[in-house]
């Protein structure tokens, strides 16, 4: 005799997949809004005289709404706003990739809950996602700090894009070389097999949910930090590149190909050489 467990009672509650889709859509909507706001601002900033004359008022207004430090030194408020932008961007880029893991976690925790203590485990999936996003917010803080430092050194422009071919080349080369590292392989291997992660890293309860989410997020950062750093070359606020990097991350994870990370590594290293030798321009625009 076997018992088939209904993993989640059929109810009006949204499925985990639908919730993740909504969160991702909301994050992308925020990025679009921010981008269109900044598009106006950068148009102003790009005109040398306008910035000094009539642009200021408009910029200050825009800055108070969505805000992106365009000029001069950052304030603490600028840092927080940029950190928010990075954190939302990471969520937008990574939640689709993490969704198989989150759904697997959800199913496991619910299958245990239905048979034992339904109430004790409710909300665990949310905590798992929170843990995951906390990990990426930590990464976002580091990225923001890097952008701040680069901004202060005028090595990136107002949009967070590298203005130095040496910085661009170094980031591309690092990202390319990292594709061949053992740690990348190890993290990617764990990210690719949700069941394996659930087995080896299982922690029970709500605290366990948060811990597991954090841990999975850390593994994803181990996989993807260098690809994310590419945004300093491609444009921190360039939505096309953001979408492309997110797609690369997703494809690399779901295809289980051993070749793909290597091919990507070779491409990035080649690109870095082209940039450092001056054969290709630093600025990338789509």
């Amino acid at each position: 005799m076997t018992t088939s467990i209904r993993l989640r009672p059929a109810s009006s509650r949204l499925s985990t997949a639908a919730v993740l889709l909504l969160i991702t859509a909301a994050c992308w909507a925020y990025l679009f809004a921010l981008r269109s706001e900044m598009g106006d601002m950068s148009a102003v900033a790009d005109m040398p005289d306008m910035g000094a004359v009539s642009g200021i008022g408009e910029m200050e207004t825009a800055r108070s709404i969505l805000a992106m430090p365009m000029t001069s030194a950052w304030t603490a408020g600028d840092f927080v706003l940029m950190w928010t932008m990075w954190a939302v961007m990471m969520a937008a880029m990574m939640i689709p990739s993490a969704s198989p893991m989150i759904q697997a976690y959800s199913k496991t925790v619910n299958s245990a809950a239905t048979s034992r203590s339904p109430s004790a485990l409710s909300g665990s999936t949310n905590l798992f996602v929170v843990g995951y996003l906390i990990a990426w917010s930590g990464f976002a803080a580091l990225a923001t700090t890097a952008q701040w430092a680069l901004h202060d050194a005028t090595l990136v422009d107002a949009m967070g894009t590298s203005t130095s071919r040496w910085i661009s080349g170094a980031v591309l080369f690092t990202a390319g070389a990292y594709q061949f590292s053992k740690i990348k392989d190890a993290c990617l291997g764990k990210c690719r097999t949700p069941l394996g992660f659930l087995l080896s890293e299982w922690r029970s309860g709500r605290r366990g949910a948060l811990t597991m989410g954090l841990h999975h997020g850390t593994l994803c950062i181990g996989c993807c930090w260098a690809l994310m750093a590419l945004l300093f070359v491609l444009g921190v606020m360039n939505l096309w590149w953001i979408a492309l990097v997110a797609t690369v991350v997703l494809v690399e994870k779901v295809t289980h190909s051993t070749m793909l990370p290597r091919v990507l590594g070779v491409a990035l290293i080649s690109w870095s050489v082209l940039i450092m030798t001056g054969l290709v321009e630093t600025g990338v625009s789509v």
Partner: protein
């Protein structure tokens, strides 16, 4: 990602209880607490037919060692799982997940929620010998169970782990686990054989 899975085959176990193990239902009387307040066990599953999504699990084996104390609140189990070292990486994960109750089905509905701590999931050289009057669970260097004497029963003997199918009670001449912190070496205790069939989707 939605995998249906199923595994069926023969379940074989031994524990430190006197035979017939008091946790089993015997002749319609439900089971109760362990003979010595603490249950120390070695469980095994030999999968004859099975799959997890596209992954074939036929012919693979798993062993679970562990203990629990009836007096401890919630009666939490501490276990270690051994998976057949011939299993592919995918099969290894699937087998461990199934028997630990992580992917639903009968284990998740019955014994697995009691598993409070998993001390390890390891690949091992497992030998499960299933022949009448010569039953054996062997995990290279860690577990040795031998049973050949049938225990007289007054009616159907049922164990919740394999499920509702009645099985056969034996007395094991050896139950040795040398796998810190699990260490016991006993003779003349309960052993049990029954078919199992679990399925679910994940």
């Amino acid at each position: 990602m939605n995998h249906s899975w199923s595994v069926s085959g023969l379940y074989l176990e031994a524990c430190n209880c006197e035979s017939i193990c008091p946790c089993r239902s015997h002749d319609g009387v439900p089971g109760g607490n362990a003979t010595y307040d603490r249950c120390e066990f070695a469980l095994s599953w030999k999968i004859e037919d099975g799959h997890f999504g596209e992954v074939d699990l036929g012919g693979r084996s798993a062993v679970m060692t562990g203990w629990y104390a009836d007096a401890e609140p919630g009666v939490p189990w501490r276990v270690r799982v051994f998976v057949d070292d011939e299993a592919s990486a995918e099969a290894h994960d699937a087998i461990a997940a199934i028997f630990l109750g992580r992917v639903g089905g009968h284990p998740a509905a019955t014994y697995a929620p009691a598993i409070a701590e998993v001390l390890g999931i390891e690949r091992a050289d497992i030998t499960l010998t299933h022949s009448e009057r010569k039953w054996r669970i062997g995990v290279e260097g860690r577990v040795e169970v031998r049973a050949s004497h049938r225990t007289e029963a007054h009616g159907p003997v049922v164990c919740g782990i394999p499920g509702a199918n009645p099985g056969t009670e034996y007395t094991a001449e050896q139950l040795r686990v040398t796998d810190k912190p699990f260490q016991w070496d006993l003779a003349g205790r309960a052993s049990f054989v029954a078919p199992f069939a679990y399925d679910g989707s994940f």
